[in-house]
């Protein structure tokens, strides 16, 4: 049987018919929805009581006061019954009221002599007696946007992101002094570093997924970020990496364009990382001790190294390096501010997804380039020295990451 293609030269349908064909299904779906909501549910007798779900979205610590932002994320209305702090009933005020429609939020406020650095458990018992709990590992005064706190979190972002990336860039003269035969090694090392960062970004999103209410569909929000960044950077990468648009000829992955691409990818990763750090501090999940900050500094210095490999063979002036450093490390500061003052879990998930997608896109561009030996980079990775370089990049990242877990 051979497939037959029918050649029909039908006259073009009228505009009205096209509109009808396009809107008809929508109208039918709308009608069905209306019918289902108005009478269909009762007709189907799905009458069991839906399970109440209340999300404690944010806990704000102020002097002698704790404020809880809650939202009804269940399928039906619910009422807020009692508030327990560390399993003890506590008087609270609530605005706008106890009765919450679907997706409606409320703010609870309690007078409480909480102590800096101590753990707390907040439980809301809703009308049908179900418990909705959120743990705070380390109670910390919630930062309010002030010049001082702005400076504080800006400095934090600079310490963990901006400064390390610049320090890493200082390796350029060293890399240039190395024999030319090692060029592919540095390229492989960079790929190893980037692969680690990509997976690391996803891992950070997994940590947030644990506390995001189901209705945000957090996993797919991350996926949206990954897919969106990967394919939208495709075009940008093609433009920046320059010659790739040529017909099939492999380009040497080098030059300022490619370095910019790597810096953007790393910058997006650092934006997510800054968000996570600022938020973790605000949410009382991490104590930002000096050890942790030093750990981030060492860890992120390798990011500067990753930006350099396309520049080893070519020329780069201080202005170029400054741009690369700002693009790669600067977003950490923005992230830290956003995380500390206006934290939103879903937004963080999207940004972490974007960071991961951007980095994987950079890896793709690097891997499609031409290695020093003339073969594609992806092929060159099978050479022992290049494989060692990739592994070394991954291992360096892993080893320094041990300093920041905890």
């Amino acid at each position: 049987m051979t497939p037959r293609r029918r050649q029909e030269q039908a006259p073009g349908p009228s505009a009205a018919r096209v509109w009808l064909a396009g809107l008809g299904p929508l109208l039918l779906v709308g009608a069905m929805t209306w019918w289902f909501l108005s009478s269909g549910v009762a007709w189907l007798r799905l009458g069991s009581v839906p399970i109440e779900k209340l999300a404690i979205e944010r806990i704000i610590f102020r002097p002698q006061e704790v404020v809880l932002k809650v939202r009804n994320v269940g399928p039906g209305p619910l009422s807020v019954g009692q508030l327990l702090v560390n399993d003890a009933m506590w008087d609270f005020s609530i605005t706008p009221g106890r009765e919450l429609g679907r997706m409606k939020g409320a703010t609870l406020s309690i007078a409480y002599d909480w102590l800096q650095g101590e753990p707390y458990v907040f439980t809301i018992v809703s009308g049908t007696g179900l418990r909705h709990t959120r743990h705070v590992e380390i109670a910390t005064m919630t930062p309010v946007a002030s010049p001082r706190s702005f400076l504080l979190f800006g400095a934090l972002g600079a310490y963990v992101g901006l400064i390390p990336v610049f320090l890493g860039l200082l390796w350029l003269p060293f890399l240039r002094a190395m024999p030319r035969a090692w060029m592919d090694f540095w390229l492989s090392l960079t790929i190893g570093l980037l692969l680690f960062l990509g997976v690391d970004t996803l891992k950070e999103s997994f940590e947030i997924l644990g506390r995001v209410p189901q209705y945000w569909n957090g996993v797919m929000l991350v996926a949206l970020g990954v897919v969106g960044a990967f394919f939208s950077l495709n075009g940008i990468g093609r433009a920046l990496a320059g010659s790739a648009s040529g017909s099939g000829a492999l380009a040497r992955p080098s030059g300022m364009g490619l370095a910019l691409l790597i810096a953007i990818g790393i910058g997006l990763h650092n934006l997510g990382e800054g968000l996570a750090i600022g938020a973790a501090y605000t949410l009382g999940e991490v104590a930002l001790g000096s050890f942790l900050i030093v750990g981030f500094t060492l860890h992120n210095t390798t990011e500067g190294l990753a930006i350099l490999s396309p520049l080893v063979g070519g020329k780069a002036n201080f202005r170029d390096l400054a741009i690369l450093g700002l693009l790669g490390g600067g977003p950490t500061i923005l992230g830290a501010w956003a995380g500390a003052f206006t934290y939103s879990d879903p937004l963080s998930l999207a940004f972490l997804g974007i960071g991961a997608g951007a980095i994987f896109q950079v890896v793709r561009v690097l891997a499609r380039g031409r290695a020093e030996g003339g073969e594609p980079v992806i092929e060159s990775l099978s050479r022992p020295r290049n494989a060692a370089g990739l592994l070394a990049g991954f291992i360096v990242m892993y080893a320094t990451s041990l300093l920041v877990t905890g």
């Binding site: 009692q82 399993d87 003890a88 009933m89 809703s126 009308g127 049908t128 007696g129």
Partner: protein, 324 residues
Amino acid sequence: MPSRRILGVGLLGAAALAALLVGPARITAQRPQGEPPALTINPLARVARDHAIRTLTEFDYGKATDLRDGTSLREYWIEAKHVEVEVAPGVRFPAWTFNGAIPGPTIRCTEGDSIRIYFTNHGTMPHSMHFHGIHRAGMDGVFEQVAPGQTFIYEFRAEPFGLHVYHCHTMPVKMHIARGLFGVFLVDPKQPRPKAREMVMVMNGFDTDLNGEDNEFYTVNGYANVFFRDYPIPVKAGELQRVYLVNMTEFDPVNSMHTHAAFFHVYPTGTSLTPSLYTDTITMGQGERAILEFRYPYPGRYLFHAHQNEFAELGWLGQFDVKP
């Protein structure tokens, strides 16, 4: 029907035996005319509050008929009902109850009285009434499960005197008690105790999320903090106070009571007229109970609460308002 008189304990025993042989009696017991109606189902906080306060001082002596030997026949009408109650402000609980609220009515009588309970199950599953006391096997409320819609008549003599309980004994018993099927069975000695201001306090826990593992709230008489927030109990300084304290808590092995600024004499299970302990804190296991007697010499407000302060801060907290 209620006009019928049964004379003598022998007949009562025969009726009990008959009930045992026949199994759950298939009759529908009716409350006699003129009795106050059973508590109606009402989820409002007011109902829970009023019930807790009423349980403190309300005793059900039943419909009494004097018998020739000087004792009384006392008839009680109890219904198992599944209702929604409020157990803490804003928190409802799918309760299984005797007569529509938790705890069930305090059944009070004198030692030697003939007791007849018309128990009708209006629930959706079998229930029973198991009385603590001394009685024949067929009156024990364990093997004679009462199916929904059926009535069973429990008949026994009230003995020994003391502070007892009754509760459902349908498996899983833990769940049937935790859902609220319990009440106080108070048997006075023939020689009455000294005159006193008397109060019934039934301690329990509510597993509102129904996870079958622990309690979300702890109450006295079914409503969290009711004697702290809604109704500090007014008492007179110097007057003898007598608390009938019963522990019907499930999941937690013990419950306790501590009185501030007053020491009490303890009559464990109320089966002796001689106190065995003088203290201000008593800890009791599940199903345990004791009569406490004390006086407040000085006017003012005094807390009483579980000395497991975890329970106190989950609803088991009250205060006495001692008036001069």
